[in-house]
């Protein structure tokens, strides 16, 4: 408290002191007959020189930053399309850097050269159609090139994946990622958010007859539970809490009703693709030079799957499936050697504001050579063994 008070006094005194100085300055200027609107030749010269000095300082700093931080220390692209994208990025950076230096140079150069001084005059030059045409046409041509190259790359990146792209699902929720591999058949089992249930190891809501039946039971039990609390004589709730509990009962009942309808028309053959799926919560493992087609989902709010090293990104949206494909080309081991950093890892970051721990929502990515990958994936248990068999016990 005391320190706040002292700071306040210092600030007030400071303002008073500056006001007095300003007052003295103003009075002195008045005595000399100088007016604020009459900018003196020496002031013009001073500012003009500052313009030039600033330009040197600015350009120098920019060049220093380019050399020191270049592509920002992001390692070389580790995916097929990433290499092309980096090429395009460098080209674009080259173009805009040129434009940046050229136009800023002209600006500061003119600003430092054409200041008002004794006897100087401005040149009356209101328009010139030819010049204006030139600087409409040249940017248009440059932009046309940028657009064409950019769209070509964009179409490749977002185009359909090839037949043998492996399908992997990445599931996001506050504040973690979970992966689901599609298994032998390379088909991901169906999902339904209403089936999400960590108690039975089904965090992604994979659909099978058994998980549906189990979930209906579980939800019904919850409803019963909630109702019991509401009707109990010994428990008293605040009005708003009670209101919320009523709402919850209604909501869950609706969910159960919908699930029952879905179960009634369920076709058991849909179980099959789900059985060999593999849910992985640790690191995401990828096989080098294998194309992957990622399917993204979100449980609660929008997140974004950002793989800076593979130059890949796609938002994950509740209620929607989004996709992105890429082929990793450099194993983690190779990259560590290149960077001479034993601790380096590829990473998947969340890149859409999603709540308190947004900055800690990540998953490490391992790119393995074929043998290592095959050994790893063989060890991962299937959905059948972790969920179905458990439930059938």
């Amino acid at each position: 408290m005391e320190s706040k008070f002292i700071i306040l006094i210092v600030i007030v005194l400071g303002i008073v002191a500056i006001s007095q100085l300003a007052r003295v300055y103003e009075l002195a200027a008045k005595l000399k007959g100088k007016k604020e609107e009459d900018i003196s030749d020496s002031d013009n010269r001073m500012n003009a020189r500052m313009m030039f000095a600033f330009m040197i300082l600015f350009f120098g700093t920019v060049i220093y930053f380019y050399t020191e931080y270049g592509r920002g220390l992001l390692p070389e692209a580790a995916s097929v399309h990433g290499v092309e994208q980096d090429w395009l990025m460098n080209l674009n950076i080259f173009i805009i850097t040129t434009v940046f230096f050229l136009t800023n140079f002209l600006l500061f150069f003119f600003a430092s050269k054409y200041y008002k001084r004794k006897g100087s005059k401005a040149y009356f030059f209101p328009h010139d159609n030819k010049l204006e045409l030139i600087w409409t046409v040249i940017p248009s041509i440059v932009l046309a090139v940028i657009i064409i190259l950019g769209l070509k790359n964009w179409n490749e990146v977002t185009g359909a994946p090839s037949e043998d792209a492996e399908k992997v699902e990445l599931y996001s929720k506050q504040f973690s990622w979970t992966a689901r591999y599609s298994g032998e058949d390379n088909v991901l089992g169906d999902f339904n958010y209403k089936l999400v249930n960590d108690d039975i190891n089904n965090p992604l809501g994979v659909v099978t007859r058994v998980t549906m039946e189990t979930q209906i039971e579980a939800l019904k039990a919850k409803i019963v539970d909630e109702k019991a609390k509401l009707n109990s004589d010994s428990l008293v709730f605040a009005d708003d809490i009670e209101y919320k509990m009523h709402k919850k009962v209604e909501r869950l009942s609706r969910v159960v009703r919908r699930l029952e309808e879905e179960l009634a028309s369920y076709n058991d053959s849909l179980d099959i693709p789900a059985l060999d799926d593999k849910i992985v919560r640790g690191d995401l493992h990828l096989k080098v030079n294998q194309e992957y087609e990622f399917q993204f989902r979100a449980e609660d709010v929008i997140h974004s799957a950002y793989f800076p090293h593979f130059r890949a990104q796609m938002n994950t949206v509740p209620g929607m499936k989004t996709r992105f494909k890429f082929t990793p080309t450099i194993t983690t081991k190779e990259m560590r050697e290149k960077l001479q950093d034993e601790n380096f890892n590829y990473v998947l970051l969340c890149n859409k504001i999603c709540g308190a721990s947004h900055s800690n929502m990540y998953m490490l990515v391992q790119v393995d050579d074929e043998a290592t990958y095959d050994a790893w994936i063989a060890e991962q248990p299937t959905f059948k063994s972790t969920v179905i068999d458990e439930l059938n016990k």
Binding site: S19, A22, K35, E36, E37, D43, N44, N47, F54, F58, V62, Y69, R71, G72, L73, L74, L88, N92, T103, L106, L107, F110, Y114, Y115, A122, Y123, F124, F125, P126, H127, D128, W135, P139, L143, I146, I147, L151, V157, K173, R251, V255, D300, I302, P308, H309, N315, V317, P318, G319, M320, L339, D341, N343, N351, K352, I353, G355, S359, N360, Y362
Partner: protein, 597 residues
């Protein structure tokens, strides 16, 4: 042709009380000042918030007495910023700056001040709506400020308030009462902005004085006019987006919600789409950036011409560019959504339209350059800031080209590269335009001059610290550092070299941010000091051609004590060969044989 004259042609003077003169004033000059001072207050608040989170980013995890002093034990226990509050600060900072400072503060001030004065009108078309517009703005600023003090915190979903994060209070505490206040504040703000814009449009169309053809209007007015049209066409869309969000939050609808489990609770929403909100939001959001920027460019055009003592180069091309930018800004919103799951083909279309906008922007830059070429530059503080604007407009504009290229946006989207880009264009360029306008028209607003030397000091420190803050951010971003991160400690797990670099740059940025904030203190001081103690202004201190400088220094209701001035020429006859002085005001009739521009 000759504009219609609807006001009586005699200035009306009558004694007013304090309240009707200073508070519920319907005089456009007073309303302009009200917008300016309120906008400046919001600017100071927004800047303080940014210093708070810059402290966190520069020195993560270190105890800071400053944070504890301002945010208290709830939000900065032991002087360490709370994670949720970090997001709250970022959100409110963005909202204040984009909407309250750069939309209301900039347009509200200068459209109100200059549209009637530069067109020779006695006031706005409707003084009452104008007053209402200010007071609604004022209420919305109050609501937004109050939301900072709510127990569960202010809105925390980013200034873009994407649902479901902004719709579910289980997802983040700020999405409770804080978000409700945010939406209410914005709804009132939008209403205010609409009233203002309609007024500006009607005034420009109907109240021009005799001889003020559209093609003789100063570029300031052209910019304000197109800005107002953009506002009228786009803000209602944001209003509907906000209302639907409010309904999702309070009435159980689910326009934006589908298949959600949050905080362990299974919701029963189906069929809504968060993408709908994003489309609606950016349909305003992109025009909004030009709503922010065009007035600044208009102000600059005027100040650069006046102080280079030269006509603005390519007057018609400048108008054409403003119109082209205005039109194109409505068909580019999708460039904010390349990676949202929107159809990639549609993304391609938005790449094309977005890059088209770069053409009129480039034309404007080259025209500014040619205007100062062989000029006779007088370095008023306003002129310095205008040149600063051109520099930052170039620097910020070129990075837009990378972002607009969807293939490249994949790596830099939502990183600090985007933050750098839009701060250089809005946080520097547009703000510079606002400063330039304040220095230039201060004599018109307050009848006194601001101190020039302090203006110089303000400009040079602001330019250096401004670039010092935002230039390094490009490199943080291109390294792949996501925005809206509380800290970068996760980098420690996968790339230590990069982690070090981000930490280093963040310290540098934060230091410049603090320096820059102090530099603004000089401006605030100069501003308030000069209102009361500045040197008395003369009628036309900058030897300018436009009509506002034909009004008396002391404000009169109705602007001109006698009949309204008549206009005979365009506003840019500076250093015209054959003329005695280096300026010829618009009210001077064409000499025998003299050609209009």
């Amino acid at each position: 042709m000759g504009a219609t004259v609807s006001h009586d042609d005699h200035g009306h003077h009558h004694e007013e009380g304090f309240i009707s003169k200073y508070i519920f004033s319907m005089d456009h000059k007073m309303i302009a000042k009200q917008f300016l001072v309120t906008g400046m207050m919001m600017g100071v608040l927004g800047m303080m918030l940014s210093i708070f989170f810059r402290i966190q980013l520069g020195w993560p995890g270190e105890e800071s007495t400053v944070l504890n002093m301002f945010l208290g034990d709830d939000w900065a226990p032991n002087g360490i910023l709370d994670r949720n509050m970090y997001l709250g600060l970022v959100t409110i900072h963005g909202t204040l700056m984009v909407f309250f400072v750069l939309t209301a503060g900039l347009s509200g001030t200068f459209s109100n001040l200059l549209i009637p004065l530069q067109l020779g009108a006695r006031d706005m078309a409707s003084g009452f709506l104008n007053m209402l517009s200010y007071w609604m703005f004022f209420i919305s600023t109050c609501l937004m400020t109050i939301s900072l003090f709510v127990e569960s915190g202010p809105a925390m979903a980013g200034w873009t308030v994407y649902p479901p994060l902004s719709a579910l209070e289980e997802a983040v505490p700020g999405s409770g009462l804080g978000m409700t206040l945010w939406l209410m504040s914005m709804a009132i703000f939008i209403a205010s902005s609409l009233l203002g814009s309609l007024n500006y449009i009607v005034t420009v169309l109907n109240l021009r004085t005799k001889g003020m053809k559209m093609t003789r209007m100063p570029l300031t007015i052209w910019a304000f006019f197109v800005t107002a049209i953009l506002g009228v066409l786009s803000f209602p869309v944001l209003l509907s987006a906000a209302l639907l969000l409010l309904m999702d939050r309070t009435m159980g609808t689910n326009f934006y919600l589908s298949d959600i489990i949050v905080g362990g609770e299974m919701m029963d929403y189906t069929g809504g789409s968060p993408l709908l909100f994003e489309h609606l939001f950016w349909f305003l959001g992109h025009p909004e950036v030009y709503i922010v920027l065009l007035p600044a460019l208009g102000i600059t055009s005027e100040i650069i011409a006046t102080n280079s003592r030269k006509p603005i180069f390519g007057y018609r091309a400048m108008i054409g560019s403003i119109l082209a930018i205005g039109f194109l800004s409505f068909i580019v919103w999708g460039h904010h959504m390349f990676l949202t799951g929107m159809n990639p083909f549609l993304g391609g279309v938005f790449v094309f339209t977005t890059l088209l906008i770069a053409i009129p922007s480039a034309v404007k830059v080259f025209n500014y350059l040619t205007t100062i070429w062989k000029g006779n530059i007088v370095y008023t503080p306003g002129m310095l800031f205008s040149i600063g604007l051109v520099s930052t407009f170039i620097t910020g504009g070129v990075t837009g080209i990378i972002l607009a290229d969807s293939a490249l946006d994949i790596t830099v989207h939502d990183t600090y590269f985007v933050v750098a880009h839009f701060h250089v264009v809005m946080g520097l360029s547009a703000i510079f335009g606002m400063f330039a306008g304040v220095y230039h028209w201060f004599p018109k607003m307050y009848g006194r001059m601001m101190n020039t030397k302090m203006g110089y000091f303000h400009f040079w420190t602001t330019l250096i610290s401004g670039y010092g803050v935002f230039f390094p951010m490009h490199f943080v971003g291109i390294a792949g550092a996501p925005r809206r991160y509380y800290d970068y400690s996760v980098y420690d797990l996968f790339d230590k070299a990069q982690y070090e670099m981000i930490l280093d740059l963040n310290v540098l940025i934060s230091i410049f941010a603090i320096l820059g904030a102090f530099a603004q203190g000089v401006f605030i001081f100069n501003f308030f000091y000069s209102i009361w103690f500045g040197q008395k202004a003369v009628q036309n201190p900058w030897k300018s051609n436009t009509l506002e400088w034909t009004t008396p220094v002391e404000h009169v209701h109705g602007n001109w004590p006698g009949p309204r001035p008549e206009v005979h020429r365009w506003p840019y006859d500076y250093s015209k060969p054959g003329a005695e002085e280096d300026f010829i005001p618009q009210i001077v009739p064409l000499a025998e044989g003299e050609e209009d521009h």
